[in-house]
Amino acid sequence: MGTDNDSRLSQFRKGVVELAILALLHGGEAYGGEIVERLGDHPGLAISAGTVYPLLSRLKKSGVIDSVWRESPVGPPRKYYRLSPTGDAEFDEMAHAWDGVTEAMDELLRKEGSR
């Protein structure tokens, strides 16, 4: 039963993580480790490097984000990610849809949920 619940939770988190990455990159470019770390600050998302990197690769392949190597002041060069123009548009659209979803869900959970 517990594992069933876990997989259901991870199922809907997966959809959210994509938007979370886009939101983070909307605020400016970031490198992989930084993205993992900053999303890790939100335990509710339960994101690990194992989720972030494959997603970055997929987003890059679909042209939503770009990557570029940059010199790092502290160590070896790092690969930075940023939203492409398509990604900007996609983020606006997804963020808008998300507002609609959260509003509806908040209402449903408040009204119908017993908590």
Binding site: Q11, G32, G33, S48, A49, G50, Y53, P54, L56, S57, K60, S67, V68, W69, R70, E71, P77, K79
Partner: protein, 320 residues
């Protein structure tokens, strides 16, 4: 199915009923084709819901068409049912028992393809070091995850594995398994006269030979073990498969080539009176270390190529 006979109470015209029947027959048909083990009851429930909805209005054929249009085409509806049934969202909807889990162990008996070998052996983005085996039961090593774990690289060092590595370098790596095969054939040819007709082919845990083969069989077996994967790798290169596939095929033939060579050395030393199975262990170690080194070195070459491209450009643009 007797629910269908209970329907006349809805007051729909026969024409309207026909439309509904046709629609749901097509839904059932599409579900059969998708081989989705969807509970037929779920679809029947939807049918009831549609009938109820129509009973509230005039129930004309036009109403029916409108309500059914809201549900989408029967095929699209069936696809949504199939998807809900298998939340993995995988594209192969048909039940496929050629791979899965058995007593907690992953198994896969599909014919290995260079794509599948490649993505299992080198996927630095996947954090799992042990991944379901390409062929057989158990796990394979994801050398990419291992390289990340021991901090030899970052998961996203290369956009597409080995894509930025110069083609000549990827091809040149084939020299490693080629040399291993040549070495094996040479050693076997040179030492053939020194072999007794029956040679050890298997050792127990304490290093005592417990299986003996005819020397011809052993030499033939080891030659195939070394040459067949090499031939496979050459085909993958000649066919210009994805760089990752080419590198993985080279790594695979390096692994089998090393094992074959070490097994022959083991057998030879044993018949020379050198007890112990050190060569087997050295062979096993090298059979894993050499492909790992090959993957990591080539990935470094790819990363360096990407960095040259980007850092060169940005210094031009940003050094004011």
């Amino acid at each position: 199915m007797n629910s269908r006979e209970m329907q006349p109470a809805t007051g729909l015209t026969p024409e309207a009923m026909d439309l509904i029947e046709t629609y749901f027959t097509r839904v059932h048909g599409a579900l059969l084709i998708a081989a989705a083990g969807v509970c037929e009851d779920a679809v029947d429930e939807l049918r009831e819901h549609v009938l109820e909805q129509l009973a509230r209005g005039a129930g004309t054929p036009a109403d029916v068409t409108r309500v059914l249009a809201e549900l989408g085409t029967p095929e699209a509806l069936a696809a949504r049912y199939a998807e809900a049934e298998a939340p993995g969202g995988s594209s192969d909807v048909a039940p496929d028992r050629s791979h899965g889990t058995l007593l907690g162990m992953p198994y896969d008996v599909r014919v290995p393809s260079s794509d599948r070998i490649a993505s299992r052996w080198w996927d630095p983005m996947d954090a799992r070091v042990f991944v379901p085996r390409v062929f057989g039961i158990g796990w394979d090593i994801n050398f990419g995850a291992l390289a990340v774990k021991v901090h030899l690289m970052r998961p996203d060092d290369e956009d597409v594995p080995f894509a930025a590595v110069p083609r000549a370098v990827v091809t040149a790596a084939l020299a490693v398994p080629l040399l291993l095969s040549v070495a094996l054939l040479t050693v076997m040819a040179l030492l053939w006269p020194a072999l007794p007709s029956s040679v050890p082919a298997h050792w127990d845990v304490v290093g005592r030979a417990d299986q003996f083969w005819d020397r011809g069989w052993l030499v033939g077996f080891l030659a195939v073990m070394s040459l067949a994967p090499l031939a496979f790798a050459v085909v993958v290169h000649v066919r210009s498969r994805a760089p990752l596939n080419r590198v993985a095929a080279t790594a695979l033939s390096t692994l089998t080539g090393t094992l074959a060579l070490s097994q022959f050395v083991q057998a030879y030393l044993y018949v020379q009176g050198d007890q112990g199975i050190t060569p087997t262990f050295v062979g096993l170690g090298l059979a894993l270390a050499l492909p790992f080194l090959m993957f990591v070195l080539l990935s470094r070459v790819g990363r360096a190529a990407e960095q040259r491209r980007d850092l060169h450009d940005t210094t031009k643009k940003e050094s004011v």
